[in-house]
Symmetry: none
Subunit: 414 residues, 2 copies
């Protein structure tokens, strides 16, 4: 069983965006044991789109397209696939209703061209789009399976995982179960070399390393006739991998570091407040990405100017003068200051030079001090990251969360 | 003149890496006015590689491959292209010498398989690899131009820019210039229906609508013999499109709403502070994504708990009791309060229900109040978004920035 990916979008051919959908889908298919031999990108052009569809139909069992499902004139994926596979199009009432409701909710007029999104190949399986307006769909014809997904990654990724993969399970033969072992504080290559021999020796389950922004994870995937059998294969290998990666593992099948830290704070009845300079609110944003964070998160202060550091956080003028805004001393007074000002158990202080400019020999661009205040004491780390403003800021926010996990939430401390 | 991109690498088909080379090369070709109609990814398999090469040779003038130039057995790109185009391979002495020197320099033994990298199609133009070991190359055969580049982005990108683009200049008839008209407050479909007739009638320049998170843009693209001629074609159409989209246009060829607002505040010597509840620091994070924002941004307060709203921002207890934390009144006291507490000219207050839970009939999930304080007055908007926590928060942050642009920075106000 093999699949071919077709991305439809002139913006990819122009280099405006990278085809990240292809990666997400290819990873999922490889988990399912479905081979991918070709990926193609084609523009919003009916003749060329038809050409690549016919090529794919000639050499693949499953065709998965991304993009071209939208309301505009140049969105042609559904119409072209339907034509090639001899399917009629019909208006799907429930999809139309969902789109209408959406426009009512946001109080915008639904322009007529939006109805186009509710026209689908007759008899297809509809993938409800809970992340946007254009529904996806799947159908079987001439012995081939055709799956259409929207192009925007924020819609494509969840729809592939939640709608397309279940559709593919029966085709994949047997069922696949994966566990993601999430790691912070260890690079992907370091993780891979630690797991290398085990990875080489394992075939079912398989172990694959993946890198994410400022963290990485190992995915263990087992294939079996039943979920139970797959779980049974997984359990010992997951334990073994987790043991090999030790304290750098922050969770298994968890959403994120912010989720793990939030759950830990809630479980211990601790409250959190953060003071951010160079991260500018990114840490607070990530903490509040987690629904229900108001159980433990009181709030934060972005003290971009020194006046705010002094007046709101109570950082002493002498500290700023003597050691500078980017210093261990300032980070610690920020951490203690925000805990005091907001009345939290745990306080975080982050100050650094995100760049691109502002660095000196003594304090280079990418230098960040991160301090965690708890029980009257500060635990502070100095990090330097040279990968640019975004990476510096993400790394600093992640490090702060990881320090709370290691120093405050680790079981052996309580 | 059109080009087709072929990426050779099983790691892309497995989803281990994203095909970023395709973006870099497509951007460069679009600058040269060379169309890209297809991009293909194929694994390290000689039959399938030959198949996509023959397809590309059938439909493109220029074939550009990335990857498969390395020393290992499964690196087959050069050999396969040479076979398809009837070229002999020969050992390139200077390339071999460079590879030897490279290994001497890093003090590692040059294993025999590395010599493979110095075998190139007879009579080709050699692209010296100053960023790795495998040279790239280009040749013309059967009226087609073939260019081979290494796969690793750190080698592919500079070699494309410094070697391949100069090779392509003489082939690139004319050049292409684009303008992006950035829009907030109008959906993609609404924008498209407004521009529909013009889009249909135009062929050079062309007009294309694109969607981004909580905003969209129209790209106007002109093709001509010279940049000047393309600019001349663009100017009137860009003006026409901008006029048709009116006040919803926040900039042309600008980076982002936060960049436009930042430049406007700097130009007017105004300072900004923000108070965020449901956005949790996202707005502050986006403002500080812009390097140099310390010129106008003093800082922010994430007042997730009511205690912080009262104690740090000075929101009155009666207001919270009588109208609730999610209300126009609270948003306005947050906006005025943060401007007062941090001493800024402009204050932003955002309070809402990001969800997934917490909604009521009267105050549904996705309801957000956004208030802008300036010159002693508040300007407040109520928005409802039903696309889930992330979209609600992004929409709210973007709306706050757009309100500053419309109500404070718009020329006619000053």
């Amino acid at each position: 069983m093999n699949a071919e990916l077709i991305a439809v979008g002139t913006e990819i051919l122009l280099g405006d965006i990278v085809n990240t959908d292809a990666q997400v889908i290819s990873q999922g298919l490889s988990e399912l044991g479905i081979d991918v031999f070709y990926q193609t990108v084609v523009g919003d052009n009916p003749e060329r789109l038809e050409r690549v569809i016919r090529e794919a139909a000639d050499r693949a069992d499953i065709i998965i397209t991304t993009g071209g499902l939208g309301p505009t004139l140049d969105d042609l994926t559904k119409e072209t696939l339907a034509r090639v596979f001899g399917k009629e199009m019909e208006l799907d009432g429930s999809s139309l209703e969902r789109i209408r409701t959406f426009f009512d909710r946001i109080g915008r007029e639904m322009t007529p061209n939006n109805e186009k999104q509710a026209w689908l190949p007759k008899g297809c399986t509809v993938f409800v789009n809970e992340w946007g307006t254009a529904p996806g769909c799947a159908f079987e014809a001439n012995g081939k399976h055709v799956i259409m997904l929207p192009g925007p990654p924020r819609e494509c990724e969840p729809m592939f995982r939640q709608c397309a993969m279940p559709y593919l399970y029966p085709l994949a033969g047997g069922c696949i179960v994966s566990r993601n072992i999430r790691v912070f504080g260890l690079g992907e290559s370091a993780m891979e070399s630690r797991l290398h021999d085990l990875m080489e020796s394992m075939h079912n389950p398989t172990i694959a390393p993946y890198a994410k922004v400022s963290e990485c994870f190992a995915r263990v995937t087992a294939k079996a006739d039943s979920t139970e059998a797959a779980e049974a294969l997984l359990a010992p290998v997951v334990d073994q991998v987790a043991a090999m990666l030790g304290e750098d593992v922050y969770g298994i099948d968890v959403d994120s570091l912010e989720q793990v830290v939030g759950d830990g704070l809630r479980a211990r009845g601790l409250t959190l407040a953060v003071a951010e300079s160079c991260t500018g609110g990114l840490l607070s944003k990530r903490i509040t990405d987690v629904a229900g964070c108001s159980d433990y998160y009181l709030g934060g202060v972005c003290s971009y100017s020194n006046a705010v550091k002094r007046n709101v956080l109570g950082v002493r003028a002498e500290t700023l003068e003597q050691y500078g805004a980017v210093s261990q001393e300032t980070a610690e007074e920020m951490a203690a200051g925000v805990a005091h000002a907001l009345g939290s158990d745990v306080g975080v202080g982050i100050t650094g030079i995100a760049g691109p400019g502002g660095g000196t020999d003594e304090k280079p661009t990418g230098l960040v001090y991160i301090s965690i205040f708890f029980n009257g004491e500060c635990n502070t780390r100095r990090t330097v990251n040279t990968f640019g403003r975004d990476r510096v800021r993400n790394q600093a926010a992640s490090t702060a969360l990881d320090m709370i996990r290691r120093y405050i939430l680790s079981e052996n401390l309580h």
